[in-house]
């Protein structure tokens, strides 16, 4: 299983975040934090949050999770409109277990 997390952060900011998570005592982060500083992939996925269009942080995505099968097809997804709303770990785990 591959886990890819995408944000508009720079690679330096992602490294900071990975370091912070790694210091929580549960070991190093095994996740790729991917940097999309110009929100190109965020736009290609139609996820730029319109709520911030007039602000400096324009380009942040709506929170979204996609579960893809081995052929790269979407098997499950959840796109929220508010960054405080995120799917639970259990929901994502169930979506991953729902197919061979």
């Amino acid at each position: 299983m591959r886990f890819l997390a995408i944000s508009p952060d720079s690679t330096g900011q992602s490294l900071d975040l990975a370091g912070k998570i790694g210091r929580d005592g549960r070991g190093a982060l095994s996740v790729s934090l991917l940097s999309d500083p110009h929100s190109g992939v965020i736009d290609r996925y139609g996820l730029r949050d319109p709520a911030y269009a007039r602000e400096k942080i324009d380009g942040v995505p709506r929170p979204a999770v996609f579960v893809l099968d081995q052929r790269g097809r979407v098997r499950w997804s959840k796109v929220e409109s508010d960054y405080r709303e995120r799917p639970s770990n259990e929901e994502v785990a169930a979506a991953l277990d729902a197919f061979e």
Partner: protein
Amino acid sequence: MIRFRFLAVLATSLVLIAASSKVVPPVVGQEAANFTLLDQNDRPARLSAARGQKVVIVFYRGYW
């Protein structure tokens, strides 16, 4: 008058084109668009390199 009507039609079709080309997130059954982005260690990561494995993609807002 004809000219005005032409402009009105043109404007309407431009609005319609803009609306229809709005990108929406991929839905279940669709192939997720490929991308290559740098990870926290400045190494390029390509979605298509994960073919053969299940993949979870999370979009998050970052630090701001």
